[in-house]
Structures are given as structure tokens and as C-alpha cells.
Symmetry: C2
Subunit: 175 residues, 2 copies
Amino acid sequence: MRVLGVDPGLTRCGVGVVEGVPGRPCALIAYYVVYTDPDDELPLRLLHLDRSLTELVAEHRPDSVAVERVFSQHNVRTVMGTAQASGIAVLAGARAGLPVQTYTPSEVKAAVTGSGQADKAQLTAMVTRLLRLPEPPRPADAADALALAICHVWRGGTRSKLAAAADRVRRGGAR
Amino acid sequence: MRVLGVDPGLTRCGVGVVEGVPGRPCALIAYYVVYTDPDDELPLRLLHLDRSLTELVAEHRPDSVAVERVFSQHNVRTVMGTAQASGIAVLAGARAGLPVQTYTPSEVKAAVTGSGQADKAQLTAMVTRLLRLPEPPRPADAADALALAICHVWRGGTRSKLAAAADRVRRGGAR
């Protein structure tokens, strides 16, 4: 199962691609940070982000896309741009016909480190270890995107099993 | 000058198309409300919104697109969806190669009613009068989108004059 994770941001948008199965270490395929210039106008920035994400989805052909869910507890100015970037990321996956799942930051932390309260350093350390990288991903923005992708591989597997079990029950009931 | 205005929303997204020149009444071309089902998943909703807006831009071939700027002073749950919808709207205009301008609600109210503090009823009444409609636009969500489009026709004209004047000054200085 190949997953493309997106940590949405208007100025820096992290993208991480991993492959794996639930409960086992994932393999790193690639990671990126898409930058847009804060001095550019919003339409140009969203267009650049849309094109970059669409290209990365086309290049890596993931089975699904995972995007971090945005909350408005952060800086008010920043959060609107982050929300717009997350909309573009979800759309890029949906336009490619892929399933798109969103996760809260604590869901990602809990899945990857075992604690929803983990800090950024812990998360980066776990991503580095889980993907057996010689050193932490640089730039650091990519680590969150990789964590999202790992989280989705592991949780996605669980969900698929549940879905399959539910299907069996439903088919059984219909007999 | 034909302008397509978008009052972004995830559940209800108003779209209004008008034609005109600065300082004179605009003519109504069309208005719509794009609905997405709150029970559907986010990727489906954004995809439907993207396709609808892209189709309306292709159908009406506006010279530019105006989108309401979103603030996070509203309901926290709603505002994230509104921000995502506004990102999709700005992107739809940019992908079509059109200039996209954003306006705050008070800029729109000031341009259309003369007061940045006008309430929704006043705005709708002025839109109805300015476009010489027999009755207010229904559903009401479309009135804000029409107000945005009118605002952009009137302000866009002003900006073009200013830009032209600035160009003349620049050309003069280069001689």
C-alpha cells in the first residue's frame, strides 16, 4: 500500500510518500516540501501548490492520500492559508480519483509515537527510526508529512480489515 | 467587463455573474448556488464544488473572478470549510488563467451600499435595485455573490484607471 501524506501549508507544504503494510515498518519512497512565495498573490500561490501536488500524485501513483486536518486554534492569519492549502491538497487527491483521509495531529502522533502529546522532536525521531533513515528528513516540514503517511498505512490497514469484516457480516446477513 | 463573483461556502456557495463598467448600473447575466451535502465526505464535497465552479467559469467566460475574503471571527467549525471553499474558488479562477481578486465583506458593502456596516437586508435590496431585478435574488446566498461581482466591476474599473495612470507615469519617467 503506497500512501502520499500532505502536511498542508501555504508557504511550506510537506509531502511524504511511503509504502508498507499495517504493523510493519514502512519504506520511504520520497519526500518534498512545496514552497510558495508569501510575496506572490494568493491565486498564483494556490495554483503553484495545486500543480505541484497534482504532479506528485501523478508521479508516485499512491493508493490513497492522507492530509492533516486543520484546526483554527493557531495564528488566525496563518490558519486561513493553511485551510486553503488543505482544501487544495484534498482536491488534488480527489481529482486523481483516490481515497483521501484526514487525520488530526494527535491521531498522527498517537499512531507513530504511541502518544498523542508527543512533541515535534519525538515525532521526527520516530519517523527517522521507523523509516530507517540515516538522519532526520530535511527540511523538517517533510517529517510531519511522512508521519501522516505512516499513520495512514497503519490505520488504513486496520480500517480495511474492519471494512472487510463488516462486508463479510453484511454478505452473511444477505444469504 | 464581465465578472464572476463567488461567496464561498462548503454547504452553500453563491455564484453571481454581472457585466458592466465602473460607475454605471451592471447587467445581471446569471446567478447560482452550488450546494454540497454535509453528510458527504470532504473530498467529494470539494470535488463537486471544484467541478461546478470550473464549469460556470467555462460557461460564462468572465474577464475576472472576485471571491469574498474569509475571516476566522465566525464559528470555528464553519470557517474551516469556508476557507477551503474559498481556496477552491480562487484556484478555479486561476486555473482558467483569469485574474482573481479577493474582497472583505465590508469592502463589498461599502462599494454597493455606501456603508461598510450595511446589514444583509440592505445589501440584498441594493443588489436588487442596482441590477433592476423584479424581486430579490433567490436563494438569498446568491445576493452576496452578485454584490461581490458588482463591487469588482466598479472597483476594478477604478484600479484599471489607476494602473493606467501609474503606467503613464512610469513610461514618462523612463523617457
